[in-house]
Amino acid sequence: MSRAPRARLSPKNGREDPASAYDMTPSTELIERRTLACIVDNEPGVLARVVGLFAARGYNIESLTVAEIDRNAHQSRITIVTSGTNHVLEQIEQQLLRLVPVAKVIDVTNSTGGIERELALVKVAGTGEKRVESLRISEIFRAHVIDTTNESFIFELTGASQKIDQFVELMRPLGLVEVSRTGVLSIQRGKEKAG
């Protein structure tokens, strides 16, 4: 019977390892945020593949938008805002490209001239000075009023996500009822097609 001395099974590397066949050290790398656009073949289940990949490999999804962009070419564009270490973000791109219906993945955050926009519908109810104030702020943000009653507005607003966050915060004390957002959309500046 050959038996290993137990002391050698906990290597002296300055940390206490649980008894496991796996390396259990958590990563301490910096977490970044990134917007990726996937051009995919618009076949049944393609969104499930993309979302399932994120779930299966433990990647984050902060926002996700999807719609067909070219009926003849059967293509949809999925824009995903995600976060992770640089290494994880690299893996996300490569893993997405492994999916058979994914044609390309564009790193919007790191490409020159990537533009990100979000659309929000914001319902605010109130009367008197608060109602006037909400309308005044909406003009500053170039929001449109798309529905109104005597006691409410629905504002339509587009912009970068931070701008929408800021608008929502300003509306909160003025009678914010609810918010609906599309999630981030993206495109590249200039005359070239992305990718």
Binding site: M1, S2, R3, A4, R6, R8, L9, S10, P11, N13, D17, A19, S20, A21, Y22, D23, M24, T25, V40, D41, P44, G45, A48, R49, G52, A56, H74, H87, E90, Q91, Q94, Q95, L97, R98, V100, P101, V102, A103
Partner: protein, 591 residues
């Protein structure tokens, strides 16, 4: 693709969906499929009944069909095909599909589905097969229109076998199997979005050779990708190793790509790999990784993995590169093509490469430690000894080895040596107990005259042992060589070394009498517990022209060494102690 012209002429033919399935399989060159009938595939079974070209092997459980298809694929280089019904048929197939994904085995799995108008109604034997298998396939399809069926099947074969190979599921509703539609042949596939890259970039090859040219302590670390790439890649690996004089190690999945009889062979790398290969991986200054993926069983502790080396990584799957370990030169390409290009550029380079004498002297010093040495016994069969004898007594045979998962698998990898690719079938990535017996049947179906041996453990083999009935029915004379230590040996080893010797549920209680079991199935049963009689018993097994179940009673307390313990680096390997011909204190408690 062959048969193009033949196909064109048949482009307008109208067949039922079930006939299309069989026709497409035949046109893809499939000669054998492994399956199990059921309500939602009955039309396909009618079509099987009506033809002679494709042989159907009836299994006893759909998991068996999947592993047989894997064994068939891995031993031939062709695509394996399995067939199952809807619901439980498909869910039983999930394990082998996942296994094939992890080990990059080309496989097409056809499943029946309830009729399209019943999908989503919780119909009898309905399961969301494409949903369930989405995460464990390379790609999958639900075919709703019979006119798409032929194209989908051909596309499935293309996707399963090209790029990094993997399993593809085609889910076919029963009404689509009955419906009549257009058959189209396997024309050259031009996929809209799937374009695997196989040609290496010249620039990368030059960068790699520039690093290789200065290597003083180099190593080639090869993997299953070299075997998947085909025999040419194994040839290219051998040629490059010869030209450079570099030592070669390989992962569990890559055994056989480089001949174990070659003096440049260091043995397997990783947790239970050889002492010399792990130390060489740790101390090398240039590492050429070919078709391997820096798996956690190979690297050990990542932050101490080969700290001083420049790393070149050839892989057909870009996501494998920089996934676990940062490399200096990534080469996204087919292994065989990249190796051939490396050799070409290496041969053209100016100047002489550094002398490797000192490095080989160091490697020889590690070899001297004899990491695989074990204390043999005159009274008990040591599992290592059993494999050594099995290897020695099968030298003149055309032999294929499969394994289950556990200690016996590691001993097989350590003590059975391979000089050719496609001879070693094991579940590496997923580690599926129960893989070996059905995989052996799949191998035997492809190589009817070969000697196919499943090196098994007493626990693993019980997971799929009903397939002995399949082996008997189809006259596939596989040999099941059980290293019976009455334990889930690897679980017990970990409990001993890491869980305070608390042997929680790892004892194989109530084991069947394997010899009687063999006889019940109509197989030949052999039992041996005496080292002196082992050779004769093995020869009896080899010379029996039908399936054999060999109950090899081995030392119960033996552990698998050498070993890289959890969270340790390659150069912190522990070796087994040679303690002589007795069982230690802990061992006595176990017996």
């Amino acid at each position: 693709m062959d048969g193009n012209s033949k196909m064109e002429s048949q482009a307008t033919e109208t067949l039922t969906g079930a006939e299309i399935v069989l026709r497409a399989l035949a046109d893809q060159g499939v000669d054998t499929i492994f399956g199990y009938p059921g309500g939602a595939v009955l039309p396909i079974y009618d079509a099987i009944y009506a033809q002679q070209q494709v042989r159907h092997i009836l299994v006893r459980h759909e998991q068996g069909a999947g592993h047989m298809a894997e064994g068939y694929a891995r031993s031939t280089g062709k695509c394996g095909v399995a067939l199952a019904t809807s619901g439980p048929g498909a869910t039983n197939m999930v394990t082998p599909i996942t296994d094939a994904l992890m080990d990059s085995i080309p496989m097409v799995v056809i499943t029946g589905q309830v009729p399209t108008h019943l999908i989503g109604t919780d119909a009898f034997q309905e399961a969301d097969t494409v949903g369930i298998t989405r995460a464990c396939t390379k790609h999958n399809y639900l075919v709703r229109d019979v006119n798409d069926l032929a194209r989908v099947i051909h596309e499935a074969f293309y996707i399963a076998t090209t790029g990094r190979p993997g399993p593809v599921v085609i889910d076919i509703p029963k009404n689509v199997q009955f419906a009549k539609g257009r058959y189209v042949g396997p024309k050259a596939i031009e996929h809209r979005t799937y374009h695997p890259r196989t040609e290496p970039q010249d620039k990368r090859i030059e960068e790699a050779v520039a690093i290789m040219a200065g290597a003083q302590r180099p190593i080639i670390y090869s993997g299953g990708g070299v075997i998947n790439s085909g025999p040419a890649a194994s040839e290219a690996l051998r040629a490059l190793a010869k030209a450079t004089g570099w030592p070669v190690t390989s992962t569990l999945m890559g055994l056989g790509a480089f001949p174990a009889s070659d003096k440049q062979w260091l043995g397997m790398v990783g947790m239970h790999g050889s002492f010399e290969s792990n130390n060489a991986m740790h101390d090398c200054d240039v590492m050429l990784c070919v078709g391997a993926r820096f798996d956690d069983r190979v690297t050990g502790r990542l932050d101490a993995f080969s700290p001083g080396s420049k790393k070149i990584h050839i892989d057909i799957d870009p996501s494998s590169i920089n996934k676990n370990v940062r490399v200096d030169v990534p080469i996204v390409a087919d292994c065989g093509k990249a190796l051939a290009e490396l050799l070409k550029t290496w041969s053209r380079k100016d100047g002489k490469a550094p002398d490797l004498k000192a490095w080989w002297a160091q490697i020889d010093a590690w070899r001297e430690r004899k990491g695989f040495a074990y204390p043999n016994s005159k009274t008990l069969i040591k599992p290592q000894y059993a494999i050594e004898r099995l290897y020695a007594l099968t030298r003149d045979k055309d032999v294929y080895i499969t394994t289950e998962v556990g200690q016996h698998q590691m001993w097989a990898a350590q003590f059975f040596h391979f000089d050719q690719p496609n001879r070693w079938m094991t579940s590496g990535g997923l580690g599926t107990m129960g893989y070996g017996l059905p995989a052996a049947i799949g191998v035997q179906a492809a190589h009817p005259n070969a000697l196919v041996i499943d090196i098994a453990g007493d626990a693993s083999v019980q997971m799929t042992m009903q397939e002995m009935s399949c082996a008997i029915q189809h006259e596939l004379p596989v040999k099941i060589f059980i290293l019976n230590n009455e334990w889930m040996g690897m679980v017990r080893q970990w409990q001993q070394l890491l869980h305070g010797e608390r042997y929680s549920h790892s004892y194989s209680d109530a084991l069947p009498d394997f010899v009687k079991l063999a006889e019940a199935y109509g197989c030949h049963g052999i039992r041996c517990d005496d080292p002196a009689k082992l050779d004769d018993a093995i020869l009896e097994m080899i010379n029996t022209p039908k399936p054999v179940l060999f109950d090899c009673r081995v030392e119960k307390a033996e552990n698998c060494f050498p070993m890289i313990p959890s969270g340790a680096a390659h150069n912190e390997m522990i070796l087994g102690k040679i303690t002589g011909d007795e069982i230690g204190e802990a061992g006595k408690m176990l017996v």
